[in-house]
């Protein structure tokens, strides 16, 4: 029997997830030895028709990173679904929408107009905006349609497993690959990372006061951050309490609060609503009995962009998914 066939594909992503595969360092050689890479547009020269020519289910597993926001991406992930035994949503964008998902506070028209017409640095006197079909001398050229709504991978195709993170850390990637090769996978639909919250493994958790309160909200650039005190206790919003652990506390160890790239903890559906709830509960808790309502409003003013902050990585997978479209 030949080696299992593996594919990597990218949708709306930054390229960091591809980099994460390379970051496996010498482990990547073990992987390359054990599998047959049949499709990886960023690194190897395969074409769509090569995939089309394969039998259905011929690919053992496809790792797909990035959110889905164009017709081309829909077409490609549907094709890979048909050709693959397993689909792994690789990284935050495929898993919960990721940073590209913040575009769901806008729409395609607004985004294209801003990028191609309205920004100060744009020089576009004719006001040319990308079109799906354009007539040129030699005929017609086409571009994939750019959608209003950014979607997670599982909102477009059936997904078997999720590897969270922006980007997924090497140990979780290797763990997933090993489990797949050995056929020791958990139940379908599992997120291949711990169930518990980031705080649970964070080294600063023991510095978190028993009765945690936030006097006011501080933003990371406004204070000198103490690397040895829980960020919440310093007035900095940290998404750790509502976020799944397993990243190795990468941001915390770089002296920055968590922004939630691992998605919500096991039992939570709406990441943003959950963290909103915890922050609102502890903000100004100390003298809540005496503080007048206007003061509460002022405290809340400290959270400049609640939607963008609480759903920084998870807007497309939230209950509301996007801003109202008119």
């Amino acid at each position: 029997m030949g080696k299992p066939k593996v594919a990597f594909y990218w949708c709306a992503s930054c390229g960091g997830c591809e980099e994460a595969v390379i970051d496996l360092a010498e482990d990547i050689l073990t992987v390359v030895d054990a599998v047959d890479i049949v499709f990886w547009p960023v690194a190897m020269d395969f074409k769509k028709k090569d995939v089309q020519a394969m039998d259905d289910g011929a690919i053992a597993v496809s790792f797909i990173n990035g959110a889905v926001r164009t017709d081309e991406q829909v077409e490609m992930v549907e094709l890979l679904r048909k050709k693959s035994g397993l689909i792994v949503a690789f990284g935050a964008c495929a898993h919960i929408g990721g940073i590209p998902g913040l575009a769901n506070f806008s729409n395609s028209k607004e985004i294209l107009n801003t990028l191609y017409r309205d920004l100060d640095t744009v020089d576009n006197k004719e006001g040319v905006i990308p079109q799906t079909r354009t007539k040129v001398k030699s005929g017609e050229v086409t571009l994939p349609r750019f959608h209003d709504t950014v979607k997670t991978l599982d909102q477009v195709i059936d997904v078997d497993y999720y590897l969270p993170g922006c980007a997924p850390p090497p140990d979780l990637i290797m763990g997933a690959i090993t489990a797949i090769l050995k056929g020791e996978l958990p139940t379908k639909g599992s997120v291949l990372a711990p169930e518990k919250s980031l705080c649970d493994s964070c080294r600063l958790n023991k510095t978190k006061p028993e009765k945690l309160t936030m006097k006011e909200i501080k933003r990371p650039h406004e204070i000198k951050i103490d690397p040895d005190l829980c960020f919440l206790a310093q007035g900095l919003i940290c998404l750790g309490p509502a976020t799944r652990g397993g990243c190795g506390e990468r941001c915390i160890n770089a002296n920055m609060p968590c922004r939630g790239c691992f998605g919500p903890v096991g039992n939570v559906v709406d990441h943003g609503a959950k963290i909103l709830s915890s922050i609102a509960s502890i903000l100004g808790m100390e003298d809540e009995e005496t503080v007048p309502e206007e003061e509460v409003d002022k405290l809340l003013d400290g959270i400049v962009d609640p939607g963008g902050l609480f759903y920084m990585y998870s807007l497309p997978s939230s209950l509301l998914k996007r801003k109202k479209l008119d």
């Binding site: 709406d270 609503a273 509460v296 959270i303 509301l320």
Partner: protein, 141 residues
Amino acid sequence: MKKDPKIIVFCCNWCSYAGADNAGVAKVQIKPHFRIIRTMCSSRIDPELIIEAFKKGAWGVLVLGCHPGDCHYKNGNYKTLRKVKLLKRMLAQFGIEDDRLRLDWVSSNEGEKFGKVVNKMIDDIEKLGPLDLSYAETEVE
């Protein structure tokens, strides 16, 4: 056909739900377009539950708790106040009208007030119409 508004009213067990009871006993006239969900304390109303109510078809959500200082668990309603205020700000970013979520305090002997607050909510929401969230599921061109 004109649809009737659907309002979810979250009531805490100790004051607001008793207030609703009081409204019943006092035969306060209230429009029928609301459903009460009782929880032990208003602070149990997680923002996630409020959003879920909207997702499931509520045109508006009314959260009722004990007056400040009267919460059965001492301080739950102060947390409710901050949660609802912050959630309102966030819902605005999603394009959801401010009037669709409201917080008020109703004590166990305020049946009159319960009726007034609920009727006002129903009237205001009727003007806004249903909250159509289907745009999140379909691709609009």
